[in-house]
């Protein structure tokens, strides 16, 4: 399938893709596959019963990469996609996902991606997911990602999630269950503007000795937008967990940070930090003494904060 220029632009925004990527990939465009390639270590098979993919990643002795971007340019499209990742013991993979919606029409466009990760013993996964919306139509751009992570002993996973522009409504739900020695790192960056709404909920259970989780969200809420960051870590064994929500509010933006720590083991060490505030006046003045206007200073502060 040929991609048009809007679809190509979306691919650049969400996956830095300018051409067909190396390694395994599946490009989904307007609910159909626009190209797919498996490799000897990464096998991609379409699901028979529902929309989505079964992805099997084998240990290949080196770090593999795969791209699974989704682009939508048809107004009014609504889809739910189930992707299951099985990552073998000792495998090492970078997965670049992401969804871009361009909606120029009146009807809402919605992509609900349900990702399940079964991460084998000592396997390493890096997962990068970017969300992006564009188009001038009154129809909303809606993305509801659901992520489930099951990590076996010694597995490690790093998730980078970014949604900087153009998505009207998001409900992100992430659950993870970690066995002994498993390590989960989550970095979320979010900016909302206009009337946007973004809800992000995490429940991470540390079930084995030595499991650890570190969840850090940095966000900016501008205009009349609303965000809720709800991160819960449950320590069921000797483990360590840390969540942090660091936010800038501007204009009439609103943010609700809900800390949640549950320790069910005396050796569970759990920490939560949250800070919400506007840009400090001193930061603006400092950059103005370097010759920036107030508006340029604000842009620099925000882009640095979300970098």
């Amino acid at each position: 399938m040929e991609l048009d220029s809007i679809q190509k632009h979306l691919l650049e925004e969400i996956a830095d893709l300018h051409a067909i990527p190396d390694g395994a990939y599946n490009i989904r465009s307007n609910s159909a596959s626009a190209g797919r390639r498996s490799t000897p270590t990464i096998e991609i098979t379409p699901k028979a019963d529902v929309s989505g993919l079964d992805i099997h990643i084998k240990a290949g002795g080196r770090r593999e990469s795969m791209h699974i971007p989704v682009v939508m340019t048809q107004s009014g499209l609504k889809e739910t996609v189930y992707n299951d990742f099985t990552i073998d013991e000792n495998a090492d993979v970078v997965i670049i996902a992401g969804c871009g919606i361009d909606n120029c029409g009146m009807a809402d466009s919605e992509h609900d991606g349900i990702h399940r990760f079964y991460v084998g013993k000592n396997a390493k996964v890096k997962y990068v997911e970017k969300h992006y919306g564009s188009g001038t139509g009154a129809g909303k751009r809606i993305l509801n990602p659901g992520t489930e992570v099951y990590m076996q002993e010694g597995a490690s996973m790093e998730m980078e999630m970014a949604q900087i522009k153009g998505v009207d409504d998001t409900e992100r739900t992430t659950t993870a269950k970690l066995a002994a020695g498993a390590k989960l790192i989550i970095r979320e960056r979010l900016m909302t503007h206009g009337q946007q709404r973004a809800l992000s909920t995490y429940v991470v259970s540390l079930n084995g000795a030595g499991a650890s989780a570190d969840i850090v969200s940095r966000s900016v809420a501008r205009d009349d937008s609303f965000q809720r960051f709800d991160a819960k870590i449950v320590g069921n064994a000797p483990c360590s967990g840390h969540t942090e929500c660091d936010s800038i509010i501007m204009d009439r933006g609103r943010i609700l940070a809900v800390p949640g720590l549950e320790a069910n083991d005396v050796d569970a060490a759990l920490v939560h930090e949250a800070a919400i505030g506007k840009i400090a006046g001193e930061q603006l003045i400092k950059l103005m003494t370097l010759g920036l206007t107030a508006q340029e200073a604000e842009e620099q502060i925000i882009s640095g904060f979300l970098k």
Partner: protein
């Protein structure tokens, strides 16, 4: 050249007006380093902030190279060539040292260019260039990075508000060397340092003592400094810091 003419700054304090800077007139010619000293609460930092435009005077005028800049904003004054180092440098989450130096220089700096500024303030550039300007930096490190941003601006007039405040003795020794280096390379620019430190007063061409918002004394270092030694206006570094 900087000229202050009858500069006054007052605030409302519990309904009563209070003047923090009173009728200050000063001239700072190019090629000179002036140190403004005096007791705490004497109006020194306020004077520095008035020059940068962070505070606006109640009355009086400020001229830079003959141009009246009294009504100019902070941004405009920066673009006209005033650099300012804060007494308490600001931290930025996410912004890296290199970003800040690039913004200060107003152009694309190669890491090698940026390293020159960091080396000038005694920091090993390789260790710092990609560091975030956040709480992970110590007070002394932050202070030196603040000074590096002023160096990177190449300003016609550089104002330093109590560069010694909040840093340890070891950092202070290095800082003196930085200012000595700046003094040697002053060329056509001018430097104003707000300080109590004897060693900084020692490199001044001229010293101004500000007391109760007024110029109490003003003159060449060799005339003014001997009378200040041992007073709150000029303390030895170990006494003040330890």
């Amino acid at each position: 050249m900087l000229e202050l003419k009858h500069l006054t700054f007052g605030v409302d304090s519990e309904g009563a007006g209070r003047e923090i800077v009173r009728d200050v007139s000063l001239t700072l010619p190019d090629g000179r380093l002036i140190v403004v000293t005096g007791p705490n609460g004497g109006g020194k930092s306020t004077l520095a902030r008035l020059i940068m435009g962070i505070e606006r005077p109640t009355s009086g005028r400020i001229f830079l190279n003959g141009q009246d800049i009294t009504e100019k904003s902070v941004t405009e004054r920066a673009r006209l060539g005033i650099g300012f180092a804060f007494q308490q440098p600001v931290r930025f989450k996410g912004l890296q040292v290199l970003d800040l130096l690039r913004l200060a220089a107003g152009r694309k700096l190669t890491p090698a260019d940026a390293c020159e500024y960091l080396a000038a303030v005694g920091l090993c550039a390789r260790d710092y260039i990609n560091r975030e300007v956040n709480a992970s930096l110590s007070g002394g490190e932050l202070k030196r990075i603040e000074i590096a941003t002023v160096l990177a601006r190449g300003a016609a007039l550089s104002v330093f508000d109590e560069p010694e405040a909040g840093i340890d003795l070891w950092s202070f020794q290095n800082l003196i060397e930085v200012f000595e280096g700046m003094r040697r390379n002053i060329r056509h620019s001018a430097i104003m340092i707000i300080s109590h430190q004897e060693r900084i007063l020692n490199i001044a061409d001229e010293i101004v003592v500000l007391k109760d918002g007024r110029v109490d004394r003003q003159g060449p270092r060799n005339e003014v400094l001997p009378d200040l030694i041992g007073t709150a206006a000029a303390v030895a570094s170990c006494r003040r810091i330890l």
